[in-house]
Symmetry: C2
Subunit: 336 residues, 2 copies
């Protein structure tokens, strides 16, 4: 269907047709194409039909009245009015950046949002303004709390970004699930198996069948630690902000009983708050680590975000690879 620019235009048009404003369509199309470009297609075009379905069913509000409440010069609370997650995320991170530029810290809680794609996409916006950022979001049940045999936590990523003094930002964006739920979904769509040891079926038995894994439980990284991280993220993005939490975030693909009301929390700060030479210090930090002796077969020690950056650059030059199923979805959505 073409290169990034062409496909982005197509997605933009599809959102417009579904009643979203030009600005909101632009924001959302850009976020979706970004996921494709950095090599995270599970958060890209594979979700377009889902977003449109939820607009059609009035679960995503295509014309939201987003309210930003000022708590202090550093703190804001956003009620996203069930906007598409991308727009809530964009409004939220912009506000956090604004607050941080003013006072050194920006803290923004967002409620009544939906799936906003990749946390790293928002962290990167802050990093590009020379700020450090944390982004937290919860998600529909996928991971069982440690000791439970039913999933309740989402894959709840912890995301941290910092300027590096070079053009490639440090973006650590780690789901606390061993495998990304989107990847299982893509495997299910393409009738492929998933690796061993990453998921259980609904009876609590290990499985490599993607469909059975979707109906079952994903395993957290590092047992009780991964479970603890997921719980922490649920508290920060859900309990604290006014979003849904404790297993109440609806699966956007198959639960149409109401809006998701996902919560996000953005925490942004100036890197030179305490010392004047952060840029030099982070450069030195990265240099020291890259200089370490490597394991056999490893050419270069990469910091989080480098691989994504390189894939993005490479993918910009070529056509976006779209599976047959998704291509069909797009054609139908565009013909509307």
């Amino acid at each position: 269907m073409g290169n990034a620019k062409e496909v982005e235009k197509l997605v933009y048009k599809i959102f417009l047709k579904h009643g979203m404003s030009s600005n909101h369509s632009k924001i959302s199309a850009k976020a979706i194409i970004n996921a494709e470009l950095i090599g995270a297609p599970s958060h890209g075009l594979a979700r377009l039909k889902m977003y449109c379905d939820r607009i059609n069913k009035k679960l995503i509000n295509p014309k939201p009245k987003i309210k930003i409440k000022k708590i202090s010069s550093s703190i804001s609370h956003v009620d996203a009015n069930n906007s598409i997650g991308f727009v809530a995320g964009e409004v939220g991170i912009k506000q956090a950046i604004k607050n941080a530029k003013k006072t050194g810290i920006g803290l923004v809680g967002i409620k009544n949002s939906g799936h906003y794609g990749l946390s790293g996409y928002y962290a990167e916006q802050a990093v590009k303004k020379n700020l450090i950022a944390f982004c937290f979001t919860n998600a529909p049940p996928a991971i069982a709390p440690f000791g439970a045999r039913k999933s309740l936590f989402g894959t709840n990523p912890v995301c941290f970004g910092t300027p590096t003094s070079n053009k490639i930002p440090f973006i650590f964006d780690s789901s606390v699930s061993i495998i990304n739920r989107g990847k299982i979904r893509v495997a299910a769509r393409n009738k492929k198996k998933i690796p061993e040891g990453v998921a259980l079926d609904k009876y609590g038995k290990p499985t490599t069948d993607a469909l059975k894994a979707l109906a079952g439980v994903q395993l957290p990284i590092a047992g009780f630690r991964g479970s603890g991280f997921a719980w922490m993220v649920d508290i920060l993005s859900g309990v604290l902000t006014g979003g849904n939490h404790g297993g109440k975030v609806k699966d956007p693909f198959d639960d149409f009983s109401g809006p998701q009301n996902i919560g996000h929390l953005f925490f942004v700060l100036k890197p030179n708050l305490f010392i004047g030479n952060y840029s030099q210090r982070i450069k030195e930090n990265i240099k020291r680590i890259k200089r370490l002796p490597k394991i056999k077969g490893v050419k270069e020690i990469l910091y989080p975000g480098e691989n994504k950056f390189r894939r993005h650059k490479k993918n910009l030059k070529r056509n976006i690879i779209i599976s047959k199923n998704i291509r069909k979805d797009i054609e139908i959505l565009n013909a509307k």
Copy 2:
């Protein structure tokens, strides 16, 4: 040597004898005994001799002039002047609590500190004042960055605490190493083996020998993800605050070439910033999770901090168990 109160008094006396003020001795003795009580002896009396050795060698300053610099009403920077880590931690968390009570957020960076024991101990202080807290600290090299065969990151814990609406705080305090370095040290002291798959020797081969593991590399949780968490914590607590970073934090037990200059970062916030009923919401969150069906053999789903709290309560009533080696150390230190 007696119960918690008695041993705490003994440790207090030992610090006094080493030139620390009564107040600083009290703070440090309390933190050490707390580690014993919650069942983390690797961060307790096992380190007492090390702290005293470093005072004797003038690497820990027993009479520090700690400077607190106000950056804004929310942000402070502490120069701990090579104090014992416990005192720097105590000063830092108290300042963060003060700032958060005033403005909703408290952010405190600390430099020129040393090993401060357990992050959870500081998070708990904030939680007891009905605040949410993040505590980050770096540590001497123990973990190899993903792709490297030499350790550089410390076990760099991520620690998060929140009030729960009941008397047991939620304290998630997770090292990013599969096994705690202190535990390996205790195993080495007691000539015990460590589990398989948690560490490599200095040639990069798996080992269950505690001494070989100390000379080698600990493995991070979840491969590149654990490595990313460790890197994040090194940046937040070291690069950002002015502390040592990138593998420059000295091992307190065997590197006497200078002070550690560890950095810490505390981030504290009011739970009712965005919504008015946090206490009710967190109660509901925990209730929902505890109600889930359990895996066979699991009686109760616990949140992070519950086990520690119960051990603390139980251990308060009985004598502290001290190994022969450590008992001898204490006797020598006390006879000084």
